[in-house]
Point group: C2
Chain length 354, copies 2
DNA sequence: ATGAAAGCGCTAACAC
DNA sequence: GTGTTAGCGCTTTCAT
């Protein structure tokens, strides 16, 4: 069905060598031959067989994407920008979704290795549990770039500095005069989440403000007191950020004393908190300032438009692909490159105008 | 680096034939040999080279996904379920995002053809403009299943019946006693959108209710009166559903007479309308009932939890893959299979409880 | 400037 | 029950 070079050679009366030279733009071809061949190629709509090329070159020109790349709009945007940047460089993307469990990861890794991907991009949340998988990949010397640092894994990484972001969010609130500041977070052990809390605590400490633990709502599955490991992480993931925000905030509102501001894990959590505040008759931002994270579109259209942090998702794709292709080409020193990008504060109404 | 059968054969003291027979589970191998080989395979962590297999078998065991597969949470969910179902069948997914413009489509198609995908899944919105691309694919006899019917294209298709869904949404409102019903829609020429309006009009006609055109807000780019073609579609896409809902509703609220209920294109549009209502001091659902479509998580957490339609996104993946693999295997009659799934009404509060 | 031929890792048909 | 071999479509080296 699809045209092969073999068939082409017959039709065009040239040798495979010449055909190949035309195809690769080598100058060692007579201009008239080149032109004729090119014209025919166009007419016959020849598409080279990337599978055969891959086998021969031992480079498939594909990149694998592993992890929960579609689990939220921000990740989905990253995936899109990854694809666009990869295509510029002649790479295709093999999508190997994984919910982050080790069986799912293992399956995906096997799949990608079998497809001879030239490199892998790992969506992850910085869970220590995921380290063994990454290490296996590194052992095989497959170029790997992470979208969040995984504790105990030394690899290339392009990520948004959530620690710094939450520091700045908290500072924003402090700058607005708030002293009684709460935090809506969850009890995941992922760095992705833990760093948010650390950023918050850092800013509070730096401003010599005391952190009241009762104002930290660390959402936890209803029927349990705490836990760890994959099973635990999975259960946390099952509670949506909205719910975490809603119940977390409701719990805090029930205390004798309330904070005047809350730093929220995500926009969704902030929107959940906003609803809880509405229901409790607490006005935002007058009685309670709320700051979110992600700048998803919903943030702008929340009942009170959310002040939040915007992540440069579009940029991430470019950075990752640029790093990964250089790594594949062996143009990078052995030492892993870690590239932190900064989120940007977007001021809207949920902390008061200004 | 990666182990090949050639190397394996040396280490294991068996022939390629026997190795292959073990690998494919053929019974024509002495049990003891099989066991020994299997054990070694495991120990050495052999992963077959899918590229070489693909070249040899002339089946890459990959499926291409084309179109805006990450552009909204519903599509992203479909992509995930597609991946999971495909993996069950031994297929990998090549992700070829396209915004739906013909250049982007053409690039993606070329990419997928070059990768020898065994089949293609097309995310699309039922735009007549997209027909030529699909037809090119069909001409090459690449199995193709669409996720929405494209006018003028005869191909396998698994989709959610939005026409019926909007009929039922409207009927729900009518059943609640509403007679003055508006519609928030946009001016895309895609079937994906047009069918919603048709469903609405059908239900109104059937109930002998007059459709007041002034209550139909058909969002249009600000600086223009109408248009068509790719450029037009692209501009509409740039206006978010929230904005379309917000401005569309605001426009309707400004009329001398207002509807008592509105059917909204999507949940986001409904949330936009809800905000417009809040700002205009119109209470939902008492003065205005609002019904959305998609049941995205935001719908449940809107200020007034949205009554909406839930799409079986998880199911779609299975259906599509099942259809596509059968088509690839030649187990289907030539006549395209079109499979419409039904969305389900989810009653919450935005139309009044009940 | 052009052509011929070997081989990437795998499968399958055929020989033993 | 096991071994051998030709070739899938392409690239690349070497010869002409």
């Amino acid at each position: 069905m699809a045209l092969t070079q073999h068939q082409l050679v017959e039709q065009l009366n040239v040798s495979r060598g010449t055909l190949h030279r035309v195809l690769t733009g080598s100058p060692l071809v007579k201009a008239s031959t080149r032109e004729r061949v090119l014209r025919e190629l166009e007419r016959l709509n020849y598409v080279p067989n990337a599978i055969a090329q891959g086998l021969k070159n031992r480079k498939s020109k594909t990149l694998g994407v592993i992890g929960p790349a579609t689990s939220n709009p921000s990740n989905a945007d990253k995936l899109t920008s990854l694809y666009l940047a990869a295509r510029e460089e002649g790479y295709s993307i093999i999508f190997a979704y994984s919910d982050g469990s080790s069986e799912a990861d293992a399956k995906s890794i096997r799949e990608l290795r079998s497809r001879m991907v030239d490199g892998i991009i790992a969506f992850g949340r910085g869970l220590p549990e995921a380290a063994p998988m990454y290490r296996e990949l590194l052992k095989d010397e497959i170029p790997l770039v992470g979208l969040y640092p995984t504790p105990g894994v030394e690899t290339d990484c392009v990520y948004v500095d959530t620690h710094g972001a939450f520091r700045r969010m908290t500072e924003h609130l402090i700058g607005l005069g708030h002293k009684k500041i709460g935090l809506l977070i969850n009890s995941s052990h992922s760095l992705f989440i833990r760093n948010r809390e650390l950023g918050f605590r850092d800013a509070m400490a730096k401003a010599k403000l005391t952190v009241r633990e009762e104002w930290i709502a660390s959402a936890t599955p209803y029927d349990s007191q705490g836990g760890e490991g994959e099973e635990w992480e999975k259960r946390i993931l099952q509670i949506s950020d909205y719910q975490q925000g809603f119940w977390g905030a409701s719990l805090i509102f029930a205390k004798r004393q309330r904070p005047t501001a809350m730093v929220c894990m995500t926009d969704d959590a902030a929107i959940g908190a906003l609803r809880a505040a509405d229901l409790a008759g607490i006005s935002v931002p007058q009685e309670l300032a709320l700051i979110g994270y992600n700048d998803k579109e919903d943030a702008r259209f929340a009942r009170v438009p959310l002040t939040t942090m915007h992540q440069p998702d579009e940029l991430i794709g470019r950075e990752v692909i640029s790093l990964l292709t250089k790594r594949i080409a062996g143009q990078l020193p052995a030492k892993p490159v870690v590239h932190a990008l900064q989120a940007k504060l977007v001021i809207r109404e949920s902390c008061g105008k200004k």
